[in-house]
């Protein structure tokens, strides 16, 4: 009974505690009201602590094996659900916590630090739910959001098709009104949680007239996944975030009751796009979490590895690499925090959300690649943690609006602002 084992700590928890919380912990608040502040509330710090602890102690040890096997991380998702880390946006009236986007981003960054595959599976829930949260009526909210807080269920956002990703207005899945139902036929692709979802948010074209504008031609539906005619494709083997379940879904004469239409026929496009203002900041937060992890791993390694008689961190080439990685991570964090804060304040945040997502996605890739570089030959090898980060990072420039689409949005917003 003599020696004391390490108290529940894995090696990774020795990593330097980063971000606003550690240093802000004991700073005294100089301003009582108003003004620009970078301080988290006590509750936000506590939430961040729980997410951080869960990520470091439970996600990190399990992530490599989920990455190798591609197996869906059911146990981790269930645990995250028990801790209240998922479904944070669900309103209190439906059994949720009704947290703002900023709080959700804090949690997301911490989970992504552990593994972005796990975090994406969780984030897909928020994306699927967002149309219902912003556009659902009371009955729809109680029915489809309520169940998410009673059991650990997943949902999915079903918009992209094999032939249309960025060009949402180009989707071809058809929904025809027949009596009190809509009959849906079409093909969706790259649906995260496609094979695990209990229900989907589906965007389909209800007006076949090609001259009908996008703002009137599409309708948003809630579809129960077990509706006859919904066929799940195989789980796709992707470059990274491999434990996340991504599939094609085929809809063959799927009948949806009219009660499951969000707002009304023709309102779908606006709903689908409106969700992004709230979901892009968390995606940016996820990319930031990955980048922070890459920076921490590279820094730790640089303080251990020696070459030419000194630690590689003493060599300016490596030190400068780390400095640039740090610059990018700090700025990405500030960007998503601003985007999240804007939308929580009730303002339209499209400009900031796109900037945050574009920047974070780009730097996540750069920082992950630089981390592999710091590790040298070891970095290329699967025994070390950074090659996974590089594979996981790529998708951040693609999903939730490609890097190019973000630039389209930002330029448009910027020019409009400038002209007014």
């Amino acid at each position: 009974m003599g020696s004391e084992p390490v108290l529940r700590a894995s090696v990774q928890t020795g990593l330097r505690f980063q971000g606003t919380s550690a240093r802000a912990a004991t700073s005294t608040l100089k301003t009582a009201q108003g003004g620009f502040r970078f301080e988290l509330t006590d509750q936000q710090k506590e939430f961040q602590e729980v997410a951080r602890k869960f990520a470091r102690e439970e996600i990190i040890p399990a992530a490599p094996s989920y990455d190798k096997s591609g197996e869906y991380p059911v146990a981790l998702i269930k645990r995250a659900w028990e801790l209240g880390l998922i479904n944070s946006h669900i309103p209190e009236s439906c059994g949720g916590m009704g947290l703002g986007i900023f709080d959700a981003c804090l949690i997301t960054e911490e989970l992504a630090y552990g593994c972005t595959g796990v975090q994406t599976a969780i984030e897909a829930n928020s994306l699927g739910q967002m149309p219902v949260i912003i556009a659902g009526n009371d009955m729809q909210k109680k029915k489809y959001l309520g169940r998410m807080t009673e059991e650990p269920l997943m949902c999915a956002y079903c918009v992209t098709e094999p032939g249309a990703g960025s060009d949402v207005a180009g989707i071809k899945t058809r929904a025809e009104k027949k009596g009190d139902e809509y009959v849906v036929n079409g093909q969706k692709m790259w649906i995260t949680n496609g094979g695990k979802a209990n229900w989907y948010f589906l965007l389909a074209r209800t007006d076949p007239d090609p001259k009908c504008p996008a703002s009137k031609a599409f309708t948003g539906f809630i579809v129960d996944a077990d509706t006859p005619g919904v066929q799940m494709g195989r789980k796709e083997m992707n470059m990274g975030q491999r434990c996340s379940d991504t599939r094609g879904i085929t809809f063959e004469d799927v009948r949806i009751p009219k009660e499951n239409v969000l707002i009304g026929e023709g309102a779908g496009f606006k709903i689908a796009m409106g969700a992004f203002d709230k979901t892009r900041p968390p995606v940016a937060a996820g990319a930031t979490g990955l980048a922070q992890r890459a920076l921490d791993e590279a820094t730790k390694y640089s303080l251990e590895r020696k070459t030419f008689g000194r630690l590689i961190s003493d060599h300016q080439a490596v030190a400068f690499l780390l400095a640039e990685m740090a610059i990018k991570v700090e700025l990405a964090r500030l960007a998503y925090q601003r985007a999240a804060w804007e939308v929580d304040e009730g303002r339209r945040n499209t400009y900031y959300a796109s900037i945050a997502k574009a920047f974070a996605g780009d730097i996540a890739n750069q920082v992950a690649s630089d981390a592999v570089q710091v590790f040298g030959g070891n970095g290329y090898n699967s025994e070390y943690p950074v090659e996974k980060l590089m594979r996981d990072a790529k998708i951040y420039q693609i999903y939730e609006g490609t890097a190019q689409i973000q630039r389209l949005i930002i330029s448009r917003e910027h020019l409009v602002k400038f002209k007014n």
Binding site: M1, F17, A22, T26, Q43, V50, K53, E82, L83, G84
Partner: protein, 254 residues
């Protein structure tokens, strides 16, 4: 079953932080350093909350002694399931000199005031490693004690405690009211879930001054100096046993 359990929770420097000695060697750097609940106190809170969930006790009260920040530690206990908190306000020089003797006087006074059946503490704090507070509190109250608990079982008006001792495990049966100190293997503390953190904000924390409890905080100990442990010297490799022996002889170790 109207039993009330008092759990002491101490705010200490987080276990993962690299400790630095102050340049003037009077103590350790605490400014701007991450603090959290002492891990053994977490285990104590968990045990108390478990007893409440089994409906064997009625109320769990979390107590912490220190400056304003001690309330953060109490909040964590509330988020884990404690019902209410008591913050004994101690700051400045008094806080610097706060040791097991002072804390046990405070706990003893509170235990009498709050009609407590059981006090559960962590076996020791990871900053001073004293392992004294539980024992002193029991002595001041003249209550039985079960220290280094790896299992706690309530049996009516008695409590069975299985203690981890050097030779193995010892089982004792204590008549309540009693003091128990928690050892590592007693349980695995739960995470505070996000909904519980939000609920904890509505729970009450009473603030009390040591004077109100009639406790004298004078310390009879003076810290003269704090130093870092000596740096570990590099070792050397030898090729044969003969070389090992000759080197040991050279160094005067044989």
């Amino acid at each position: 079953m109207s039993a009330r359990v008092l759990v002491g929770v101490k705010r200490v420097i987080d276990y993962a932080v690299k400790i630095r000695v102050k340049p003037d060697n009077t103590g350790v750097v605490t400014d701007g350093v991450k603090h959290s609940m002492n891990p053994f106190c977490e285990i104590a809170v968990e045990e108390a909350v478990k007893l409440k969930e089994k409906k064997l006790i009625k109320e769990v009260v979390a107590v912490s002694c220190g400056p304003q920040q001690a309330q953060e530690t109490i909040r964590t206990a509330l988020a884990m399931g404690a019902d209410r908190g008591i913050h004994v306000e101690v700051s400045g020089k008094d806080y610097d000199n706060l040791g097991p003797l002072q804390v046990s006087k405070i706990l003893a006074a509170l235990a009498k005031k709050e009609e407590t059946s059981l006090i559960i503490l962590g076996k020791q704090a990871i900053d001073d490693d004293c392992n004294q507070t539980g024992q002193m509190t029991a002595a001041l109250l003249d209550w039985p004690q079960g220290t280094f608990a790896s299992e706690v079982v309530l049996e009516g008006d008695k409590v069975k405690v299985i203690r981890e001792i050097d030779g193995g495990l010892e089982t004792v049966r204590l008549k309540m009211p009693a003091v128990i100190t928690a050892d590592l293997r007693l349980n695995t503390p739960r995470y505070a879930t996000l909904p519980n953190i939000m609920k904890a904000k509505k729970k009450k924390i009473d603030v009390v001054k040591p004077g109100e409890l009639g406790v004298d905080l004078t310390s009879h100990l003076e810290v003269l100096r704090v130093d870092e442990p000596p740096q570990r010297q590099a070792g050397m490799k030898v090729e044969t046993v003969e070389e090992l022996i000759s080197r040991l002889k050279e160094a005067g170790r044989m």
